[in-house]
Amino acid sequence: MENNVDPTSDDRLMSRLALGETDALGELYVRYERMVKATLCHFSPEMSAADVEEITQEVFIAVHDMAPRYKPQSKFRAWLWGISSRKASDWRRKTWVRRRLLRESAGESSPAMAWRKEQSPIKKVEQRETIGLMLAALPRKQREVLMLHVVEGLKGDEIAQLLNIRPKTVRTRLHRARQQLLDSDLAKLWQQTGDNS
């Protein structure tokens, strides 16, 4: 049965990793490095480039450590996304004093800020920045659920299983996040920029 599984699939790579084949981790790293970094930047925009690299490594080390316990019952990408968001939260908790002291300088050098300036056209950037601000205004738990639902395409039950919370809680968070996005003042601004473009 195992022969039917794509040898390059994420689950297969995780099985190999669980057996001690560290090369599989390299494959996963190449495949999901950008996604992990984007998630880290998304949850901690003030993270410096060096920190992003370091925390990314920690995420994959965690993947390696958890490989024997990994169960291929949900998307690997979503599972990895959950680990990344938790690592980002850990980083925020550990460095809140330093971030308070160095808030301005951290903001200048963050890669999360940098990519927004590189994009074009202008309207698109504005619209993307607006949606970024709207997402940033959401509470972390709501944002987490929303991103898993919208970006990763997970359903409520899958998110509940992944985050170890009740499905009803997922629906509540999702509902509140959506309400906040739709009813915020930035939504009107975002809509206007979209209409103008």
Partner: protein, 527 residues
Amino acid sequence: MTNPCAHLSAYLDQQLEGAGHDEFVHHLDRCPVCSARVALWDQMREAIIDFAETAEQSQTTGTAAARAELVDRVGRNRPIRVFTPAALRWAAVFTSAVFLLAIGFIALYRPAPPTSHGETPLPARTADAPTSPPATASSTGETSPGSGTGRETIETAADQRLITRFAGLRIGVGRHSLLEILETEPGANRFQLLRGVVAWAVTPRAAEQTVTIEFNGHTVRVIGTRLITRREDEHRSGVGVASGQVEVVLATGGTEQVTTGRLLVIDGTTTHWESLSATDLALMDTLLAETPDSHQPPKGGKPAKYSPNGRSPKNGTVQPESSPIGQRLTLSPPLPRTVRKNPSTQDRRRQSGESDTRPQGTPSSIEQCQTWIIQGRLQQASTALDEHLAHTPNDHRAWHLLADCRRKAGDWTGALAALDKVIDRAPPRVANAARFEAGTIWQEKKSRHHRAIDNFSAYLAAANLRRPLAAEALLRLGRSQLALGNTDAAKRTFGKVITDHNGTVAASRARKMLDDLKSERHSADHP
């Protein structure tokens, strides 16, 4: 689908299926609001996906060196993490708990605690130095040799209290009190209360053994009890009993039995009864509470070490608890003996036709009834009291005893009727205490909160009277108001308890009630 707009969220979450989904799709065609929101959300969702993808694409990929470093890091023989963060957390919790338990154990059972918090262990006579004069414990915790008369004093400042142990006797000296130790011989410990309040706990040893206290010219016989003595000034003093029974032989020859929960107030030439207030009980508990600084009782029959001012003695031990009962304690400041009412005075008044405000019942019959009530012979006591009241219907003491009797028998209506008689006949102070008792019965036993509120309000409204249960009465008033649904008034009353009686047990209960009310309100607002 009664309100289709309410299912917008379920539709967007793809929770609607079958007919429900089709119905909502039809609704979308008709409802411009829902359709606009769905359209906006679709756009927004696309934008979020675009945002995430762009963020991902904009990330620089790591170098081959970074990948190699990662593989190298995980490929190293890293130690197995036996102690995961969760395990470490639990280990820390466990260690803390063990540490706290150890601290508590040491605090409870250390033999010679040091002096702190301004509390001074009372010096006691040591077995090896029976003739040496005892030391004097002052409020500053210093000791000094006793006077040539062999007497010593224990004086506490306004912010200090003291607790000590003698054989079979624990003494808690309240704030700003002065106690003179006249004699501490086996079986004959004598004290003199010169000022303030002292709580006593006498260890019961045997039914035939008693502790006798001479107090203000009166003699108090104690049978294994906890009592409190108070001297407010040269005329006014009191004896209250928290458990057991005390017999007070007045200087005039009369005898009073102070039973559990009763307070005998000796005010100049008169005496009257009050219920032992919650304040007095709390004070007694506070004074007699074992603290880390208080002297601990001997364990396993071994003589306890005595530590003057917290220092362990080299040779000194407390005398064995051989005969704690039968010792004679004197709590008698040389007060002017204002005779209350001796028979000759009464006879003179009777002959001259003066009215006597004192209850008319013979003390012996009243005391007998009280003893019967203590012994549980309620029917006998009730019959005797009824007979007694048939002749002297204005004897408020008898009515009070009858109320006690009926209350113990569970006859709440009868008890309330008797308390009404007390309220009508007794002096204002006693009548007010009876109002509190009546309010308690109305509240707890009859659930008639209007009547309870009337009684507690009357108790609290009594001016120029000492109201030892004011905090408790306010708390109970608030509870009755709450039971009647008057939440705002209850909140105000609880707030008044907290403001006016801060630091009392009632205040902490009121605070809890307020918290409960707030949490109920919160849960009602946010189901």
